[in-house]
């Protein structure tokens, strides 16, 4: 259940990120239009109106947050947290040096054989 909820939330945040990106494009387009317009009426002050700046910055903030939330499960960055995932058996095992003439084959002798079907 929780995983499906998670993926749903991720989808929503990805959607929000896309919408925010469109808003950012829109603010860029508005800025261009505004500058062309001011040039054509010969205005001296080329600074952008506050609503375009706010739209751009707001969209950027929303998009950053949405992308971070939608990217997947975040993992801790400390080396210790990473090491917690490994057990002492895994660390001390040397897979390239395994030997196979051991008692393993006598431990589960009565298991039914697996039939292999190749696809």
């Amino acid at each position: 259940m929780s995983s499906s909820n998670d993926s749903g939330a991720k989808l929503i945040s990805k959607g929000i990120a896309v919408v925010a990106f469109l808003f950012m494009l829109h603010s860029g387009y508005s800025a261009r239009e505004y500058l062309l317009y001011s040039k054509s009426i010969g205005r001296q002050d080329p600074s952008l109106p506050i609503d375009i700046v706010l739209e751009c910055l707001g969209a950027l903030a929303v998009m950053t947050i949405a992308v971070v939330l939608g990217v997947g499960e975040l993992r801790p960055i400390s080396y210790e947290a990473e090491m917690k995932r490994y057990s002492v058996d895994g660390i001390y095992s040397r897979p390239s040096f395994q030997v196979f003439n051991h008692r393993g084959r006598f431990l589960h002798p009565l298991k039914p054989a697996v039939a292999i079907t190749e696809k």
Partner: protein, 286 residues
């Protein structure tokens, strides 16, 4: 991807040796053919199942899997190595050796083949030759920490602690933040009686890994033994010949370290059941 494929991938990445679980998880996958859901990883899964199968002595399964791998990667050296391994498992070490030698003839730098040859010597109980081979292997591949670790364990199997400690130093040099290697190094030093180094390394273990029980037990043991030796007069006890008392911390520091280890151990075990708690407290002499 199905949950058993995920579990198999987890086991593969942890490099733990759990052949029984691998076979159990892969049995339905192999029978139903749903193993192909693994995508590109399917060949890794086959290799994993193969190694688990020869570990468990399921030679029929191993042969069937090997057939599939051989069909896909005909001239592959990696598959040839698997042929060598199945020969080892069924008791034809000479055949296996021949295959590995052929691999090395084709490519003298084939790391996997050289490692198998050393493992083969180990499986035949020829430890001293295996050590010789591994030492010359490490002359060329000095950055292979797995080989250093293997050499350390070969030395340990022959009670050559000083040599093992040297190998573990090399391993620590390559992975200084991995507390498991510090732990092993500390234990080897403790066994040799180098209590000052052992104590330092145990402290490093608990520094790198919060509330590491094995580390705290080690601190307590090492600190108490140094205290014991120093209080009986340095030089008289045969234990003190392996380390200089001057290198160990002050008496007050040692007492506080021992106390701290006791406190932490009690705190760590406070959440467990009564029987465990009693055992721990009895050992700690509370």
């Amino acid at each position: 991807m199905s949950s058993s494929l995920k579990l198999l991938a987890e086991i593969r990445q942890s490099s733990e040796r759990r052949p029984f679980e691998v076979l159990k998880l892969s049995e339905p996958l192999l029978n139903k053919g749903s193993i192909s859901q693994a995508g590109d990883d399917v060949w890794l899964v086959y290799e994993q199942v193969f190694i688990a199968a020869i570990d468990e002595g399921e030679i029929d399964v191993a042969k069937a899997v090997l057939e599939i791998l051989h069909k896909r990667f005909g001239g592959s050296q990696r598959v040839k190595r698997l042929y060598g391994m199945i020969n080892e498992a069924v008791g034809y070490p000479d055949e296996a050796k021949k295959l590995y030698d052929e691999m090395l003839e084709k490519d003298a730098t084939n790391v996997l083949a050289s490692k198998r040859l050393i493992a083969l010597l180990k499986s035949q109980g020829q430890y001293s030759i295996a050590i010789q081979e591994l030492v010359s292997y490490l002359d060329t591949h000095g950055n292979d920490f797995e080989a250093w670790l293997e050499l350390a364990h070969l030395y340990l199997a022959n009670h050559l602690y000083a040599q093992a400690a040297f190998c573990l130093e090399e391993v620590i040099l390559q992975q200084p933040a991995n507390h498991y290697f510090h732990l092993c190094y500390a234990e080897v030093n403790y066994t040799m009686g180098c209590l000052d180094i052992a104590l330092k390394e145990y402290l490093r273990v608990v520094e790198l890994s919060t509330d590491n029980v094995r580390g705290f037990y080690g601190i307590k043991l090492a600190a108490d033994r140094i205290l014991d030796i120093t209080s009986h007069g340095a030089g008289k006890s045969r234990d003190s010949s392996h380390f200089k008392v001057e290198n160990a911390p002050q008496k007050a520091t040692l007492e506080r370290l021992s106390q701290l280890a006791t406190e932490r151990l009690v705190a760590i075990y406070s959440g467990t059941n009564d029987a465990t708690k009693k055992t721990v407290e009895a050992w700690l002499k509370l």
